[in-house]
């Protein structure tokens, strides 16, 4: 490697933050390139936030707008919360990638294009009438790099087909970017070594290094940039996506609660990755089951819970609604399990790879009759790990299904994650009911504190009992159609779920504890809201902020906090589900800020709304 020498030759300019977007065909390896650059950036000590944005089609026709796949990374020498509204740099592998993304780039930003792919045919396929480059040269710093031919030159002599050679060009670009921003490449080379062998490995490594060398010698880049390491909390970090953290949370639950895990799932975007990831960890005693459909995924999971496993099912909106029937039964029979919904843009098939927070009301009220179920929502990729552990603890302690609402944005985004100290994580071995400690066994006798019924599992002598969907008689669990009992059992289930709030820590307010403006968020919008609040504070506005991870029941001090502010703004990626709930529950005039575009909030959208709210007269 000659990376250290290269710095001497060219100037290095210090910048505090940069946002880069990689864009190309869905087969060009943009997600991979972005992920590798993210890891190198994390290892360089920057804070970072990523946003993969790709089409639902696996390989849309090459060169078309429909097939464009993008990956944005924002990295900085200070604390950041979002992948940034506007990229400073766009790397476009073809005209379609340029056309689909160029309007997002900040004025005077850098466009790095693969000039080899800018021929008439490709321009037409992308929908360009004429040559877009002259106009772009005025508005941006346009850097034309012949990635395809440079890559071919670099890989001469290898026993690879033209197609195989061309598939390596993303690593040429990656090497060049690594030079441009002073990133190391050892981790990427190590990663390549674990992934490929022979000439494919050689080709990727060679082009990666060639890209780096090209950066340091070409006159296209007069300077390189240095983004100093961020000052972040000491500890050992790794990069993690929300889906990976969900999967590891599931595995960790089995370890911390000392019980086998059963994951029943049916493939659905963007939740399937969790199934794939968990399936790799059979040596943790984890069993995964790919069911025939969503109903079977949920039903097998309840069966596993009945049999005494840590049971979890995962899907996304269209699959989640198919599970509601089973979740209503789980609520009736009061068995512990976790149902994860990685929300996506709907309704129906909708936009499978795009994000939304539109399933909150379905999670709360989408089942027939009354069947209260606790709902938790992780707010960052790393939080997905902790929320799964919390969900299992609640499920087991209160004998209830628990719903976890993640979303497509945090599922695929990554961030540096402070790896938790395993020894400091709560350890809660499961205790089942046994004939010794229950006396005369009653399946619906309740713990006076939690109102949980006993978890008595098959194989336990003396506790044979029957449960089912028919209305249960209090205490005995026998079938009962008696009116007063029906009312009482509904009330007990309601009180049990409401009582979970007792164990929640009070909500902490970021900012003044009372005043003019309170911003309320939930789930995956934490990053955007935090960044927006910081931005308006820099302008001198006094704004407070709370963020909800517990959607049912709410933390106990929520109503009181809401009442202490003149104006409450609630941004959410839906038609205002939480706003509707809070208005109904607390009779407070919540201002709802909604966005249903399949994309996360931009910071500017939020800062604008906050400033507008500030200047509006108080009612």
């Amino acid at each position: 490697m000659t990376a250290s020498k290269s710095r001497l030759k060219k100037h290095s300019e210090r910048v505090e933050r940069v946002a880069i977007r990689f864009a190309g065909d869905s087969g060009d390896g943009m997600q991979l390139t972005g992920a590798r650059f993210s890891d190198e950036t994390a290892l360089a000590g920057n804070d970072l936030s990523t946003f993969p944005d790709f089409p639902a089609e696996i390989r849309a026709p090459a060169g078309t707008m429909a097939g464009v796949s993008g990956f944005q990374i924002h990295f900085s020498s200070h604390d950041i919360h979002t992948p940034a509204d506007q990229p400073d740099v766009l790397i476009a592998f073809n005209p379609a990638a340029l056309r689909a993304n160029v309007d997002d780039v900040r004025p005077k930003g850098m466009l790095i294009i693969n000039i080899d792919s800018f021929n008439q045919k490709a321009l037409t396929r992308a929908g360009y009438d004429g040559d877009p480059l002259p106009d772009l040269r005025d508005r941006y710093q346009l850097v034309e790099v012949p990635f395809t031919s440079l890559n071919r030159e670099a890989l001469q002599g290898l026993d690879l087909s033209q197609r195989e050679i061309d598939r390596c060009k993303n690593f040429f670009a990656l090497g060049m970017l690594c030079w441009l921003y002073g990133r190391q490449m050892e981790a990427t080379e190590r990663w390549l070594g674990g992934k490929f062998k022979g000439d494919i490995l050689e080709g990727n490594v060679r082009t990666l290094r060639a890209g780096h060398a090209f950066g340091e010698t070409t006159e296209l880049f007069p300077v390189s940039f240095e983004v100093p390491a961020a000052k972040i909390e000491p500890g050992t970090y790794r990069n993690i996506t929300g889906n990976q953290a969900l999967a590891w949370g599931i595995v960790a639950a089995g370890v911390q609660m000392e019980r086998g895990v059963f994951l029943g799932a049916y493939p659905i975007t963007p939740a399937s990755e969790v199934l794939h990831e968990v399936a790799r960890y059979r040596h943790f005693g984890v069993k995964t089951f790919q069911a025939e459909d969503e109903m079977a995924a949920a039903s097998s999971t309840i069966g596993a819970a009945f049999a005494g496993q840590l049971a979890v099912t995962i899907s996304s909106g269209p699959g989640f609604v198919l599970k509601q029937e089973a979740l209503a039964l789980a609520s009736m029979v009061e068995l512990p399990l976790v149902a994860i919904n990685v929300q996506r843009a709907g309704p129906s098939t909708g936009s499978p790879t795009k994000t939304e927070q539109g399933d909150l009301l379905a999670a709360l009220f989408g089942r027939h009759s009354q069947s209260p179920i606790p709902i938790l929502a992780p707010c960052t990729p790393g939080d997905c790990f902790h929320i799964i552990l919390e969900a299992f603890r609640i499920a087991v302690r209160y004998m209830t299904p628990v719903i976890v609402l993640s979303d497509g944005y945090i599922a695929n985004s990554s961030e540096p994650w402070l790896i938790p100290d395993v020894d400091a994580l709560d350890r809660d071995p499961i205790r089942f009911a046994s004939a010794q400690d229950v006396g005369e066994f009653q399946p619906y006798a309740r713990d006076p504190e939690t109102l949980a019924r006993p978890w008595a599992i098959p194989g336990t002598k003396g506790l044979e009992h029957r449960i089912g969907g028919l209305t249960k008689q209090d205490i005995t669990g026998n079938v009962s159609y008696e009116a007063d009992n029906h009312r009482k059992m509904n009330q007990l289930r309601k009180d049990k779920i409401a009582g979970i709030a007792k164990q929640f820590a009070p909500i902490e307010i970021d900012g003044p504890v009372e005043g003019e403006i309170l911003i309320v968020g939930w789930g995956g919008t934490l990053g955007s809201i935090t960044a927006a609040v910081e931005a308006v504070r820099e302008d001198g506005l006094s704004v407070s902020r709370i963020h909800l991870r517990h959607l049912n029941p709410f933390p106990k001090n929520l109503g009181e906090i809401l009442g202490r502010f003149e104006k409450v703004l609630l941004p959410e990626l839906s038609d205002g589900h939480l706003a509707l709930l809070l208005r109904a529950r607390f009779l407070i005039d919540i201002r709802s800020l909604t966005k249903i575009e399949g994309q996360p909030f931009k910071i500017s959208e939020l800062t604008e709304a906050i400033r507008e709210l500030h200047s509006s007269s108080t009612a």
Partner: protein, 341 residues
């Protein structure tokens, strides 16, 4: 379990304290009694037995068994049972379902549970009608049946449960009759002994909404000619002394021949029943036999060996632990690229 001296358990130990609430004369009573009678002979501790059901008259069954029991959702009992058995292979898991529950709303779950060869016993009570919803036609009802939802007669072609199970690749398929206690007990024991999914169609009478559809085989007198009792290694012979008949195949097409009392059926070409052919076509022909041209076959149609889902799943867990050691959470969280500040 093994340490304690064996206490003789009897049928009564499997009777729960719940009042049975089927209609008077329902075939389910007899099935329940036979299952309770067989249980003590199976050698499974009561606490290791789980009955799982869906929705419908048959699906009330678990409430009456003094074992573990789960009355679940319409059609989904096989999926619940799959979760139970995959988690705890040591449990003896029984699924009770009906023709509507199992073959209509739950057809998909039944298909996949059978094809995975989950080691469970599936008792499908076939009365060719929806009982609990008060008398609509079911997926096994004959074309033309007039019910509340088909006042002009049903125009649905029925599915045959045995042919369905065969199509799903079932490793054990049998049929028995609600009132034939001896035969049902034999079949239940065979089903329990079988490793893998054991599918049993039980011809069951609904005296309220579809009375008498199985009359010919339920009636002891007519049964000898109306039913063909399948026994491995025995020729397909039915009827009584003086009126014996046998099934012969010509070019794969079955037909009935008359047998004289001193005829050797095998010499006359009567097919010898074989539960274990590799090809399922033979059992398929048996499944197609129906009255009035043929007797209704009862007994074990097919019994073959295949690994079960849950044992292969457990084997994957065991081999993963053997190869990689038991999972270490700390090592997992620190795997791949990390950096320390």
């Amino acid at each position: 379990m093994a340490a304690q001296p064996a206490v003789k358990i009897s049928r009564k130990d499997f009777v729960s304290d719940q009042d049975v609430r089927w209609c008077p004369g329902c075939g389910d009573y007899s099935i329940l009694a036979n299952v309770q009678r067989v249980m003590p002979d199976l050698g499974v501790p009561r606490e290791n037995v789980v009955f799982v059901s869906g929705i419908g008259c048959s699906s009330r069954f678990p409430y009456y068994m003094n074992t573990y029991g789960f009355h679940t959702i319409h059609g989904r009992a096989p999926a619940f049972a799959t979760g139970i058995k995959a988690s705890r292979p040591e449990l003896s898991v029984w699924i009770v379902t009906g023709d509507g529950d199992g073959l209509s709303i739950g057809g998909n779950h039944l298909l996949h549970t059978i094809r995975r060869n989950i080691d469970t016993q599936i008792l499908l009570f076939n009365n060719q009608i929806y009982g609990l919803t008060k008398g609509q036609y079911s997926p096994t009802s004959e074309v033309g049946i007039k019910t509340k939802s088909t006042p002009q007669g049903s125009i649905d072609h029925p599915v045959d449960p045995i042919a369905f199970a065969l199509g799903c690749g079932a490793t054990f398929i049998a049929r028995t009759i609600d009132v034939d206690a001896k035969h049902m007990q034999l079949i239940l024991k065979r089903a329990h002994e079988h490793k893998g999914t054991a599918f049993i169609e039980i011809l069951q009478n609904c005296p309220v909404f579809n009375d008498g559809i199985w009359e010919a085989v339920e009636n002891r007198k007519s049964r000898t000619t109306a039913a063909l009792v399948l026994e491995h290694g025995e020729p397909l012979v039915f009827g009584q002394q003086g009126h014996r008949q046998g099934i012969v195949f010509k070019d794969g097409i079955p037909s009935v021949i008359d047998l004289a009392d001193d005829d050797d059926p095998i010499e006359r070409g009567v097919v010898v029943h074989d539960e274990r052919p590799n090809a399922s076509s033979y059992a398929g022909v048996l499944a197609s036999l129906r009255r009035p041209d043929f007797p209704i076959p009862v007994g074990v149609f097919r019994a073959v060996e295949k690994p079960t889902y849950e044992e292969m799943l457990q084997a994957q867990v065991d081999s993963a632990i053997a190869d990689r050691g038991r999972g270490d959470l700390k090592a997992l969280l620190h795997s791949g690229d990390t950096w320390t500040i």
